[in-house]
Every structure is written in C-alpha cells, then in structure tokens.
C-alpha cells in the first residue's frame, strides 16, 4: 500500500503536534520512533483516519482519509498500546468475531475465521475465557488477533510492546515479524526495528531523520543523549 502524507499539520487546541509533514511510504516494514509527545501516535492515527489533518492530506493507495475513511479502515488495521481499551467484547472468541460480524459476514465464515485466528495466535484454549482475565501479553495477542482476522493490507501498531514484560514483548515482536502484511510500527524498543526496511524519526512534530534502521536509530540516540 502506498502511503502518501502531504504537507500535513495537526494539533490539539493551541498545541501543534505535526507541522507540515510530507513523506511517501511503500516499504513492507516501516518503523516510527521519537520521544514522548513528538507526534508519532498522531502520525500513526492519520493512517486509518482516526485523526484527520487540519492542513494537508493523507492518501492510502490513492484514497483520501478525509473522504474515504470507512473504505480505508477496512484495509488498514490499527493496534493500540493498551489492549484493554481495544477489547470490546467480554470473551476472547466474541472479541475476535467482532470486526467480522460488523462486516456482515455469514455466521459459519465468522466461526471458521475466528477459530483459525485463535489457533494462529495461541489463544484457542481461551476461546470462551473472559477477556479481562487474560495476562497482559495474552490481551495484546488477542488485540492483534482481532485486527488480523479482518485481513487488513496494512497493520499500524502504536507501541504494542510498551506495557509488556520482555518475554511478552518478544512474543509480540515475533508475531509481527512473521506477518505477511505491510506494517507500520511505532515503538520505543529500537531493537525491534533492526530488520525493518525504513525508519522515520519524529521529533517536535517533524520528521528529523528518515533512512535505514541503523542510520535512523543512531541519529535518534545521538539526539536523545545530547
């Protein structure tokens, strides 16, 4: 999917969080790094029209997010930092089925795809388990499974490992690494980006570095330790 961000600015009240950002992205693995409050999450939210630019435009494979939000959300999945905020149904299988049911898929197809998604993410034994009783890592896996079951072309992940311990963070990273989809990953865990195709460094609402993971993370580390 070709992501085109053209002269985009966004802010909350008087605070400008993105300032005239322009970039085109078509790589399979794209990383976004930057300090807290730099505008990374806002940038990520632009990609499936959760946030619309105040100025400029964002196009996903030619579709303008301001006009084609629903069509874009069907192709762009979004995974949040806190899985508790993303899990909307009481039990594991029901939550995975949620997106499919909203799309009006037949009950049989929903059941088949839910079973496959649970199996693929190691959640099959928790099918009827109350979602709020899962561990943090399992909740994040559930959040991922619930998005992936809708088969998006692009998956945007906003700091999916921030609230997890090392083992669970590794597990999520392995799942993400194995995905066939295009991925945009916002993270503070720089080691997750070593195999990525392209990494953007965002600071103070602007892209201050853009390149391969080694160059971009080195720039970021220098910037943060100055």
């Amino acid at each position: 999917m070709l992501i085109e961000v053209e002269h985009v600015s966004h802010g909350y009240g008087d605070r400008r969080v993105l300032d005239d950002v322009s970039v085109a992205l078509d790589q399979r693995r794209i990383g976004l790094i930057g300090p807290n409050g730099s505008g990374k999450s806002t940038f990520a939210r632009l990609l499936n029209a959760l946030v619309l630019p105040i100025r400029g435009c964002v196009r996903m494979d030619g579709l303008d997010t301001a006009r084609e939000a629903k069509a874009i959300r069907r192709r762009v999945g979004f995974c949040f930092t806190d899985p508790d905020a993303q899990i909307v149904m009481p039990t594991v299988a029901e939550d995975v089925a949620f997106g499919l049911r909203r799309r009006g898929l037949h009950r049989t197809e929903v059941a088949t795809r839910v079973a496959a998604a649970l199996q693929a993410n190691g959640l099959a034994e928790y099918r009827d388990h109350p979602a709020h009783l899962l561990s943090g890592g399992q909740k994040q896996l559930l959040a991922l499974a619930s998005v992936l079951v809708t088969e998006p072309d692009l998956l945007v992940l906003d700091e999916p490992t921030t609230l997890l311990d090392l083992r669970n963070a590794r597990r999520i990273a392995d799942v993400v690494a194995a995905l066939p989809q295009q991925v945009v990953l916002v993270t503070h865990h720089l080691e997750l980006l070593t195999q990525f195709d392209r990494v953007l460094v965002i600071d103070d609402g602007r892209i201050i570095a853009d390149g391969n993971p080694q160059e971009a993370t080195a720039h970021y580390v220098r910037q943060m330790t100055r």
Binding site: L50, D84, P90, A97, H132
Partner: protein, 199 residues
C-alpha cells in the same frame, strides 16, 4: 465476576438465548406477582440456587451475584422489618435476590453476542422508527464488557489511595475513578471506530 459468561455444556448453557430471556421475563414477573409467603420465596431461591449447580457454576456463584447488593439488601430488609414486619422484609429481600440470581444465571450461561443477537432481533421491527438494532446490541455487549473494566479501575484507584495514605476519603476515590473511566470510554470509542463499529 458479575454477569460474564462462564463456559459450560449444561442444558442451561445449551438452551437458546431468546428462550432464556423469555423465561427470565416470565418467571421474574410471576415471582413478583405470585410469591406472597416467605416459604414460597425460600423454595424459589432453593430452586434457582439448585439451577446454578445444575449449570456447573458452583456454590459461590450465587453469592458472587448477591455480594455487591448486600448493603442495599440489608437496608431494605431493616426498613421493611421496622415498618411492615419481618415476614414482609423476607418477602421483599427474597424476591429481589431471586430476580438478581435469575438474571445472573442467564448472563453467566449465555454468550454476550447471543444476548446481543436476541436484542437486535427483538428491536428490528421498530428499526423504522429510528432505532438502530445493531447499535443497541453493541451497547448491550459493551455494557457487560465494561463491568469488569470499571471494577478493575476501582481496585487500582483504591490501592493508589491506600498507598498515598488517603484512607477512606470518598473524594480521593471518586474523582480519579470518574476521570479514568472517562479516559477509558474515550479510548474505547476510538478503538470502536478503528475496528469498524461504524461500518
């Protein structure tokens, strides 16, 4: 936890959600209208608690359903005992407990999505009046899902309150709980949009 589906294979689990809701409505109405003596209420409670065992929910499940209401029930019992006598107090408190236990039995043995489907089907005929049945079903599911979330938030806020030595100050409990609940609601609405709830 209150009202969250507990997996099982009992006859009650397998019964259609619509039938369970219909029976809940009928039995609930009949209980309120027909039970007039304490022994009748006692017998009905025994049958309902027995149904919990039949559904494989254990002995603690009925108590878990009533625990959040204990103070309320105690208050109602005391008031009725003073104003109308103990027999009336037993009747009122017993009937309320019976209704809560029956509703709990339905939600504990029925998937939320099945309950939501019944709500959607029931409301569909009035869809032309502007009621969106799908949204109503979603609202029901979100309501049930939100119970454990708010309970968890309350526990976290209470722990933080104790850690900071604020004792039982109700304001120190209520304000952060409301703020965090509203933040959660915000995040949830964003997630719903991202997951295609407005499709």
């Amino acid at each position: 936890m209150i009202g969250i589906y507990v997996p099982g294979n009992s006859g009650i689990h397998r019964a259609p959600a619509g039938l369970k809701l219909l029976l809940l409505m009928l039995v609930g109405t009949a209980s309120a209208l027909l039970l007039s003596r304490p022994w009748q209420v006692g017998a009905a409670l025994l049958i309902v608690v027995g149904s919990y065992q039949f559904a494989g929910l254990g002995w603690r499940a009925p108590l878990d359903q009533l625990r959040p209401l204990l103070w309320l029930l105690a208050g109602v019992a005391a008031f009725n005992a003073l104003t109308s006598g103990w027999a009336h107090a037993v009747l009122i408190v017993g009937t309320v407990s019976l209704l809560v236990l029956l509703a709990g039995l339905v939600t504990l043995t029925t998937r939320t999505s099945d309950l939501a489907d019944v709500a959607v089907t029931t409301v569909r005929p009035v869809g032309r009046l502007g009621v969106d049945p799908e949204r109503l079903g979603l609202l029901l599911a979100l309501g049930i899902r939100s119970v454990p979330v708010v309970v968890d938030l309350a526990v976290e806020v209470r722990d933080a309150q104790h850690a900071r030595g604020l004792g039982r100050d109700p304001r120190a409990f209520a304000v952060p709980l409301i703020v965090r609940s509203l933040r959660h609601a915000d995040a949830l609405s964003e997630a719903l949009v991202a997951r295609g709830a407005d499709d």
